[in-house]
């Protein structure tokens, strides 16, 4: 469902861009192309809005690599939590709280329902009122005129013909059962001729169906202000192209008559509605433009080229966006290739293979199929970063691959770099994965450090990497013993959280919460966000060698002093934070 939200948004945005472009060049187009082709070009855009899905191209035209920037919200329970809350280290942004797309989906659905309900109620009211005030037209002259026009235009369906006092303009209502409504008034025969012809052209062209589609598009994209602009533009073009069809290729005389007929009806209606004269935006100018357009005898082209361009843009740009958002899930980042090569070259199993063919590093995520060629090695990243693990932590790696059966030598393993010494170790988790789709491996982290997972395809065929997930269990710090009464007596079974890249933890305590963090900087800032109440003491300390605690820094935080920066730290090493005495407070940590 997340991909649906993303698809919908990308569709909304890409179609908005196309629409704005289209609106921007409309003055130019209006000179060359007929209103009809411009009207139907919009239809393509509307269909593009209603159906957000596009054909997926295998290679994206626009490659946009985005990594999630949302700060992971991690809520840590009290010390008794058996399983580490960081279950999906690869998906911290979606793991705990309700994710953004679920909220977005609900808001969107509510919006669609409210919008449609509102439109339905208004339409129902309108129909009800107009029915009240309608009388079937029995005037022979009018009926004959309608029948004559119908057969002239090749229409045989029953169209109800009514005089309705509650409408201000002649109109066609009813998608399934068409009704033609005339306002109160004595229309001259020639006026009535044009009025009826205008409405019958609408009927013949199925403009109400088009309107339904526009309504659907607006309902789906209700949150996008640009669709309302589109709706308006289409409405104007609908009338203009209808006018064109009414007058066809006739000369100036007919055009004048037609203009006069429209103005005549407008005048008559305005006289009836005495007091009411809100000057609706575009009213006058819109009408002027329309008259100019009717009087314009210049030949306009049927814009096949225009229609094709809009069609290609609608499909093409959408597909480009669609693909790039798809590649978002597992993206190749080649900037780390050299680093990975260097790391992998130390691996005995691979050194025999000579030059390593490392193609890049991919962000682990809900993979939608990263295709791996033979001879390719990729390194997996956790949203652009390696994983920070502490010695003794139990780690589970689950993955899903899909091959064609020719695979025999697909390796998966990890490289870990020691935080303190910079030395690294490598390990192979599996040597020859076959085509079985799902695998799961457990291992215990051998050292405190930075972990990279890699895939190598030494088989003859290609395969798809569909899913990759790292889950980290248990905390490594229950052996810590205090050596100073200021520090916490015993730290057992506490929680490990990788706060390397910022984040927040919940200090829920009469007890003690302990968090491990690894920093690349010499500063760590701890703060209580605005609006949170609570006070307590923060201890920050480092651990060297055999569980020796040193570098103890402490600071009291409360509603007055909400932030503290610990400076002078050694970068690239593990620190531990204790939050003592807080009562359900969220603490943010950043480096």
């Amino acid at each position: 469902m997340q991909s649906f939200v993303v698809t919908l948004l990308t569709c909304s945005i890409s179609m908005s861009v196309i629409s704005l472009l289209y609106v921007a060049i409309t003055p130019l187009l209006a000179r060359r192309y007929s209103a009809k082709s411009r009207y139907y070009a919009w239809l393509i855009i509307v269909v593009g809005l209603v159906i957000p899905f596009r054909p997926q191209l295998s290679n994206s035209v626009v490659e946009i690599v985005t990594t999630e920037t949302a700060t992971p919200a991690i809520y840590v329970g009290n010390g008794t939590t058996a399983i580490n809350p960081i279950q999906n280290a690869g998906f911290t942004s979606t793991s705990f709280s309700v994710s953004w797309w679920q909220i977005a989906l609900i808001i969107w659905l509510v919006g669609v329902v409210v919008f449609l309900a509102y439109q339905a109620v208004m339409h129902y009211r309108f129909i009800k009122t107009s029915k009240r005030w309608s009388e079937v037209i029995t005037n022979k002259r009018d009926l004959a005129l309608l029948e004559g026009l119908k057969s002239e235009m090749g229409l045989s369906n029953q169209i109800d013909f009514l005089q309705c006092d509650s409408v201000g303009s002649p109109m066609l209502v009813g998608v399934f059962k068409p009704r033609l409504l005339l306002p109160k008034g004595d229309f001259r025969r020639d006026e009535l001729y044009f009025i009826l012809k205008h409405e019958l052209v609408h009927y013949k062209r199925k403009d109400l169906w088009y309107k339904c589609l526009v309504m659907a598009a607006t309902a789906i994209h209700w949150f996008n202000p640009i669709v309302y602009l589109i709706t308006r533009a289409i409405d104007v073009l609908c009338e203009m192209s209808c006018d064109d069809e009414v007058i066809g290729n006739t000369g100036t005389d007919m055009r004048l008559h037609y203009s006069e007929a429209i103005i005549g009806v407008v005048k008559y209606q305005t006289r009836l509605k005495t007091a009411f004269s809100t000057n609706f935006y575009g009213g006058k100018n819109g009408m002027k433009k329309r008259i100019f357009s009717i009087m314009d005898t210049g030949k306009k082209r049927v814009g096949v080229a225009l229609l094709c361009t809009v069609l290609l843009l609608t499909i093409g740009v959408g597909a480009a966006f669609a693909t790039s958002s798809h590649s978002n899930a597992i993206s190749v980042d080649t900037s780390n290739v050299e680093e990975i090569k260097e790391l992998l070259s130390g691996l005995d199993e691979y050194s025999a293979l000579g030059e390593l063919n490392v193609t890049g590093a991919i962000n682990a995520g809900k993979g939608l199929g990263y295709s791996m060629n033979n001879g390719e090695i990729v390194c997996l990243y956790n949203e652009g970063y390696s994983w920070m693990l502490a010695e003794g932590q139990e780690v589970n790696v689950s993955l899903e691959i899909k091959g064609d059966g020719t695979q025999s030598a697909i390796n998966v393993g990890y490289i870990c770099v020691d935080n303190l010494t910079g030395e690294y170790q490598t390990a192979i988790l599996a040597n020859s994965l076959q085509i079985v789709e799902k695998y799961s491996f457990d291992f215990i982290a051998p050292l405190d450090g930075e972990y990279y997972f890699f895939f190598a395809n030494f088989s003859a065929g290609k395969f798809q990497l569909n899913f990759f997930e790292v889950t980290i269990f248990n905390s490594p710090i229950d052996f810590l013993v205090a050596e100073d009464e200021h520090i916490i007596p015993v730290l057992s079974g506490k929680t490990y959280v990788d706060l390397t890249h910022g984040g927040s933890v919940e200090a829920d305590d009469n007890n003690i919460s302990v968090y491990q963090l690894f920093t690349n900087s010499t500063e760590i800032t701890v703060s209580i966000p605005n609006g949170e109440n609570g006070s307590g003491t923060i201890y920050l300390y480092a651990i060297d060698g055999e569980n020796e605690v040193n570098n103890i820094l402490e600071f009291a935080l409360d509603s007055k002093n909400t932030t503290k920066t610990f400076t002078g730290l050694t970068s690239s090493r593990n620190y531990y934070i204790n939050a003592v005495g807080f009562d359900d407070v969220r603490i943010t940590v950043s480096d």
Binding site: H123, F126, K128, T129, H202, I263, F280, G283, M287
Partner: protein, 128 residues
Amino acid sequence: MEKLQKLPDAEFEVMKVVWTNEPPITTNLIMEQLGNTKGWKAQTVVTLLLRLVERGYLSKERRGREGLYFPLIGRDEYLQFETDNFVKQYHDNSFLALVNTLFKDKNLTDKDISEIDKLLQKTKERRD
């Protein structure tokens, strides 16, 4: 007078008869022109008429045994009320309404129209 309220269908039907006839209106007249075709009882018509009196649409006088009703709200007045309240807000300002109108009504002021009129005249003259 109290603010107008939208009439339910039955009361509206009664008012339609009231408007098409010269006052005073009697129960018998309503029965003849509407009640019989609808299959209403005389009592129903009386109730409807009294409700309309209550709402301020009719006034009632007593002459002998018969009640005479006079309209207080004209047809056009009520039409104006209904259209302003239930029609205008829908299709005037909405480009979404599922109707195809000849023009967006009530958008133009008299001044606008005379301006457009002049424009048409000019076109005509230029041609002649």
